[in-house]
Amino acid sequence: MKETRSTISLNKVTKEFLLGDGSVFTALKEINLDIKEGEFSAITGPSGSGKSTLMHMIGLLDRPTRGGVIINGRDVSKLDDNATSFLRNEFVGFVFQQFNLLNKLTIKENILLPTTYTRKRLSYDPSERAEYLMDMFGILSKKDQYPNKVSGGQQQRVAVARALIMRPQLILADEPTGNLDHKTGTEIIDLFEELNKKEGITIIMVTHEMEVAERARRQIRVLDGEIVSDKK
């Protein structure tokens, strides 16, 4: 078996939230997790179990209260703002559960937004790639529309296209099929599978649909902030 290196490792990651009443809520409890390069994983678990919080830790969108996040062998908590921003920009593509599109930008501008923050010269024409992605997701006709003027499913596809525009090594998708009909949902997962197989992109997605989870080659189950099962 070929030895693959870890893209991401979580080392005893704990995330606590300070609640309004002064008490502390522990959303993640000393999580240890190794995600290898080229893996296609699904995270499942009941609502409130900590799936999104876990994704935010992996995607460098929030800092753990304790523990370390190691990406390509480097502890990211030691990185400065520039380096962290660089990773968010070029290394990960994040699909949020709530899309998080900017309503004052058009759909195409939203998809292109990550490219405006890149520090490297892109090997492709961003505009062409954006149109290619929109075409693939059937939203090309909406490119000059604003996100709040299109359906939830279409917004989700914009969010996925935005996550893909930079050709990231890692895609983190929080309920990417949550707002899609069965057919489009399947198409998105097909796309993920293709990206994973052909381009070796590491994919982690959160889903509550068994059918979707089974398409992944690794299933991680979270319950009350802990990983309760991890099947490959």
Binding site: D62, R88, K104, L105, E109
Partner: protein
């Protein structure tokens, strides 16, 4: 190249933002615009008042000495230049004028009778000021003739019913000011022939005056044959003090110390200037208030959109914007907004100033412009950048979830 495209990107994004957030953009720049506009205009007004008054005094020359009843301008706070608000005190007569004429170092000497009354001519009736004086009055006031001629010593001696008409009054009574020449005026039942019309002086009282020989007033206009004031034109500025005390000595022979006052124009000027100092402070205070009001407006708008903007910062950070990117973006927006607002305010102010200048000597002041612009922009930039800085210091997800 990289930097250029970065800047271009920033400007593009800022303008895209303005287009989409028209209301916020308009209100923010409005706040700055109003701040700049009001401060610049208020200061222009203050300067205008000062210029106006100084101009008035300059046209009279600083060598004018006025003998007034009561304790003069500084005392009772009377009716102003040539006004009738001063009550009590001496009633000057021809003997006083004769006594004062013996003084050395004086160039002009004239008694002054002053009455506001209605002037009829050409089927019109307008308010004007009748001034009785001798021929020296014209030289003292440096009147410039528009048409006709000034009356002289002979007319004073003959109690001639002749008048020299101020520009504005002539303009009101006749089609053209110069048309007044040779016409007859009726003032308090006396018929006066207009022998001359003078050029505009800019002083309202002078421009509405009917100047007649003081002797002509001895009748229904001035039965007591007394004078409101006596004006002395001193040969040189250096002699003003000496002439003033010599005149005072002469008058003290007939009047008590508190019955009359010697008033130098330069003294009035300094009083007026100190009044303007206060007026300017008041205008400045009003200006500051409008700057603060504009600033609060900007602050309100920025705070009303802070949740939305914090979320935006979170999203941008999540897809790779550095803190520096965010600050640059918001800085660019705020600076552009402030400058646009400030420039519009300034242009408006300049336009209004240019327009008002036709009637009134308002003036732009560079310091006022810079201060107004600086303070407004500082407020605009601070409230644009400060929330963004706070948002950028949160983790992306905290910013996205900000409430």
């Amino acid at each position: 190249m990289k930097i250029l495209s970065g800047t271009q990107q920033l400007f593009k994004s800022a303008f895209a933002d303005f287009r989409r957030d028209k209301v916020r953009t308009a209100l923010t720049s409005l706040g700055i615009m109003i701040g700049v506009l009001s401060v610049v205009l208020l200061i222009a007004l203050g300067l205008g008042l000062k210029n106006y008054i100084e101009g008035q005094f300059e046209s009279l020359g600083a060598n004018l000495l006025m003998v007034l009843p009561g304790s003069g301008f500084t005392g009772e706070g009377g009716g102003g230049f040539g006004g009738q608000g001063i009550v009590g005190g001496a009633q000057f007569d021809e003997k006083d004028v004769r006594d004062l004429s013996r003084l050395s170092g004086i160039k002009y000497l004239t008694p002054v009778v002053f009455k506001s009354s209605l002037v009829q001519a050409n089927g019109e009736e307008k308010a004007g000021y009748v001034m009785g004086a001798n021929e020296d009055f014209f030289g003292l006031m440096s009147y410039k003739i528009l048409s006709g001629d000034l009356w002289g010593k002979t007319e004073v001696g003959n109690r001639s019913k002749v008048a020299v008409l101020g520009y504005n009054l002539a303009d009101d009574l006749f089609d053209k000011p110069a048309d007044g020449l040779g016409k007859t005026l009726r003032v308090s039942g006396i018929r006066l022939k207009v022998v001359g019309v003078i050029k505009k002086t800019g002083d309202n009282e002078q421009d509405r005056s009917v100047v007649i020989p003081y002797t002509t007033t001895f009748g229904s206009l001035n039965p007591s044959k007394t004078f409101f004031s006596i004006y002395l034109g001193v040969e040189s500025k250096d002699e003003v003090e000496a002439v003033s005390s010599a005149a005072e000595k002469i008058l003290l022979r007939r009047y008590d110390e508190d019955e009359f006052a010697m008033t130098e124009l330069s003294e009035i000027l300094s009083t007026v200037n100190s009044i303007f100092g206060i007026i300017n402070v008041v205008l400045m205070a009003i200006g500051s208030i409008s700057l603060i009001v504009g600033g609060i407006g900007i602050m309100n708008i920025m705070y009303a959109t802070v949740t939305e903007r914090t979320r935006e910062v979170g999203i941008r950070r999540a897809i790779g914007a550095t803190k520096r990117d965010i600050l640059l973006q918001f800085m660019t927006e705020s600076v552009l907004l402030s400058f646009l607002g400030g420039a519009v305010g300034l242009l408006l102010a300049a336009g209004i100033v240019l327009l008002v200048r036709i009637w009134f000597p308002v003036a732009l002041n560079l310091t006022a412009v810079l201060v107004a612009f600086g303070v407004s922009s500082a407020i605009g930039i601070f409230f644009g950048v400060f929330p963004a800085k706070k948002a950028a210091d949160l983790s992306p997800i905290e910013a996205i979830r900000y409430e």
